[in-house]
Amino acid sequence: MIALLRIAKSVVFISSLLFVMSILPTHSVYSQDAGPSVSDLGSITVRAHDTDNDAGGAITVEWDDPGYEKLAGFVGFLIWRTNTLAGTNDSVEVTPFGTRTYDDRSVSDDSTYSYSVAALVNGERLMSAPSVQVRSSKQWFDGRLTWVLILGLIICGAVIYFIESAKRGTKLFLRRIAGLEAIDEAVGRATEMGRPILFVAGIQDMDDVQTIAGLTILGSIARTVAEYDTKINMPVRASLVMTAARETIKQAYITAGRPDAYNDDMVHYVTDEQFGFVAAVDGIMVRERPAACFFLGAFFAESLIMAETGNSIGAIQVAGTAMPAQLPFFVAACDYTLIGEELFAASAYLSEEPRQLGSLKGADVGKAIAMIVILVGVIATTIASAWNSESMLWIENLLRQMFSTG
């Protein structure tokens, strides 16, 4: 089956190549003065090697151009491949202007290949000498990600270290977050007024971490709701979120000792359409007049539509999102806003469980590293550019290399 597909693919490929070649123009797109003629130019040098940091099946071909591209009749470089085990030849690709490297992804790790590059000038092929024989192979580790691994291990290590030390009973200090006290206050007010609570966990599905963060906070809110016996209404935009939210609320009611008060209808699916969902949530707000609205998760343009409608009915509103573009709208229209990272930290705070709090401490280590690196880096680059300091340049380059992600 797969072999058949491969054959079909190569047939399509070769025929389209032939097609492209058949229609290649005979004159250049540039009309330039007659430069050096073909015979004046030296030959093209070709190097081929296994493509770095990949899963195999690719060879990188590099060549240099002694000046063919400047010729009047130049069309492109043709990459020519010889399968030295099977003894077959084929043309792989005609590269466009300015290209000096090509990754041939149609090779097999089981064979060896040799490459030539031909300049196509005035319908002629000026072929280079073949490269050395190469074989593609796969790498077990992407070398470009060494620093990602090291830094990742340091930060994850710090998180786990603080979780473990919290488990052993070490007292950890964490400052308070303003928006969090507001959550209890909002639930309390809804109870007093005998009005429901509206909870929106963003408009993304479960494949967004912000949705999961919203649900973890829902866990804490639902516990308070269960204790106070307040009504909660949670419209959702994605069916998976509905299932997960039901599990969360149910668990909260059980923990609060009131499993009988739980009801699946607290969470209901509306529609997957972004603004259809907004239309429905707006409708719920003006009709049911919730005393408190929570918007915790990933939001897009609808953030302001919902927050303004909530504001118009006089509800206490607590929002939280990690979408930088939507934060200003929530800040403007809501009573409290969890900004960026606070959304992810909130559930740990609310749980008051030492292990969860420990994980936040670990994240602080990451922030400390980021601040130090930025300080050192900026000072180094400034000094390096102002006084041409070698050592500072070395630091600057090291940091660039460390934090470049390929």
Partner: protein
């Protein structure tokens, strides 16, 4: 059992995907995972769509307030399902592309869903105005800074900004509102964005670890 197996699945899948980032030949796991997600999401929709039908049918049965709107919703849902599943009016028949011009599905999209969608989006213009009126007030230091930054950017994007500060001489052109707006975008705004984004990523890391280590598991439900 009801809790341990899901925990195990969660940690195993998460760890494997973290590892896959570093191994070139394992990267396709990430695509497989997202394909799995797509497929699971469709099955979940049977629950979501079922819930939609149940909620609205119950409203109609109980003749509770606004039941007539539930009838409309159910009708709309049904019409779209029939038009889309059987590809009614589709010039390409059942094998045709779902959004082919002329199919009922496409017509409903074009004349019903699309105007509803863009109008709901357009309401934003009204809300942006009312939020500006109410929230853009120099109540305290923070609010004043927000107001000033917003006002400079806002003026910088209109002709008024050019008119207001044209008189500033070229040596001090930095202080002309359009240039000031560009500077705000490039310097303090960028700095704030960076701090927010670095913070977010560290928040995600610590939350993901809580999930993978099984410390945070409220969304998985209890033992029953």
């Amino acid at each position: 059992m009801k809790r341990q197996i899901p925990m195990l699945i969660l940690s195993a899948v998460g760890t494997l995907l973290v590892v896959s980032v570093f191994i070139p030949s394992a990267r396709h796991w990430q695509e497989d995972a997202s394909l799995y997600f797509d497929i699971i999401a469709v099955f979940a929709f049977f629950l979501g769509g079922g819930n939609l039908i149940r909620v609205h049918t119950e409203k109609v049965n109980r003749k509770s307030a606004g039941w007539i709107y539930s009838v409309v919703t159910l009708l709309g849902f049904g019409i779209m399902l029939v038009a889309g599943l059987f590809k009614i009016g589709n010039p390409g028949g059942i094998a045709g592309d779902i959004s082919q011009t002329g199919s009922y599905f496409q017509l409903l999209f074009q004349y019903v869903m699309s105007p509803l969608n863009s109008t709901m989006y357009a309401l934003l213009a009204f809300y942006v105005a009312s939020a500006s009126y109410r929230a853009f007030r120099a109540k305290n230091t923070e609010a004043t800074i927000l107001l000033v930054a917003a006002f400079v950017i806002l003026l910088g994007r209109t002709a008024l900004g050019v008119l207001l500060t044209n008189w500033i001489p070229a040596q001090l052109s930095v202080l002309q509102i359009p240039n000031l707006a560009i500077w705000i975008m490039n310097a303090p705004n960028l700095a704030g964005q960076r701090a927010i984004m670095i913070g977010i990523s560290l928040g995600v890391i610590s939350m993901s670890l809580r999930l993978l280590l099984g410390i945070e598991r409220s969304y998985l439900g209890g033992d029953n």
